[in-house]
């Protein structure tokens, strides 16, 4: 039963207020993309032991989608941030580095 803070309304959400949305920062590939790119977009998902970026919707709340950087092993939350970004913002990366110096951005 996680607690994630919604970056839009500031509520520390009980997990039951949220709906999960899978991995964050996927790049959409549409018509014209290669089979490999499209397959990656549709099916290839990270499943790390450690730092992970994921999508959550504050479904029983303000309704906004947000992103979370979280450790899948310890469940430590490094930060949550708004969904209107294609990559983790610098402060989130810094927060992760502070706690997991060995971690490298990118898959």
């Amino acid at each position: 039963m996680l607690i994630l803070t919604c970056p839009y309304c500031g509520i520390q959400c009980d997990e039951t207020e949220l709906a999960p949305g899978g991995e964050a920062h996927l790049t959409r590939h549409g018509p014209g993309s290669t089979d490999e790119d499209f397959e990656t977009y549709l099916f290839d998902r990270a499943n790390p032991m450690g730092v992970h970026f994921e999508r959550w919707r504050h479904a029983n709340g303000c309704g906004k989608w947000f992103l979370a950087a979280r450790c899948t092993v310890t469940l430590e939350v490094f930060g949550t941030y708004k969904a209107q970004t294609t990559e983790p913002p610098a402060e989130i990366v810094a927060a992760i580095k502070a706690r997991r110096p060995e971690w490298e951005a990118g898959r």
Binding site: Y8, C9, D14, E17, N60
Partner: protein, 190 residues
């Protein structure tokens, strides 16, 4: 519009420390847009007499209230018979500004939960901190209530106003009444 009815026909329940009843018809308008825009604050003030709420705030003024629902959404509460006029005013004042204003009066039901145990009734159903320190008057809290989404706030008079979707009005009334049909937990102050 005179023969419009609420979902529950003013249904009521009295528990040991809490009364639950359906509120009369209320005009409700969902407004979406860039809340920081100056046009917005002006249009909302003109329509309701209320200032723009801060995040998670509900502002009361006269016979209207304006609640912050999300960074780009407000809930306007107005007298039921003025709903269409308020929507029209908003549309006029916001002409040329990207927005959405839609009457949702009939899409929702409003319950009043009153009595010393009101906070504890909702604390039986919602994963939200209902202590006065965490939820004071003026905050609009959206959360889960049992198995549905709901929104509520502490009224200036001390009761709790609870808003849910119309189709689950009866479910909401029933779960809230069920929670109210018990002695106080005596964990939260009345």
């Amino acid at each position: 519009m005179s023969d419009a009815v609420t979902a529950l026909g003013a249904m009521e329940f009295s528990g040991p420390a809490v009364q639950v009843k359906e509120a009369p018809l209320r005009g409700m308008i969902t407004v979406r847009g860039d809340l920081s825009g100056s046009a917005f604050a002006g249009a909302v003030r003109a329509a309701t007499g209320c200032d723009m709420p801060q995040p998670r705030e509900i502002v009361h003024g006269g016979d209207a209230s304006v609640g912050w629902m999300s960074p780009d959404e407000l809930l306007l509460l107005v007298p039921h018979d003025s709903t269409a006029a308020v929507v029209a005013d908003l549309s006029r004042d916001l002409a040329g500004v990207h927005h959405l204003a839609v009457d949702v009066s009939d899409a929702r039901a409003v319950l009043c939960v009153e009595g010393t145990g009101a906070r504890e009734v909702l604390a039986r159903l919602c994963p939200a901190d209902l202590s006065p320190a965490a939820l004071g008057p003026g905050e609009l809290r959206r959360t889960r209530l049992a198995q549905i989404p709901a929104a509520f706030w502490i009224d200036p008079a001390g009761g709790i106003t609870l808003v849910c979707f119309r189709s689950v009005a009866r479910y909401t009334f029933d779960v809230v009444s069920d929670a109210a049909n018990a002695a106080p937990v005596e964990f939260l102050p009345g």
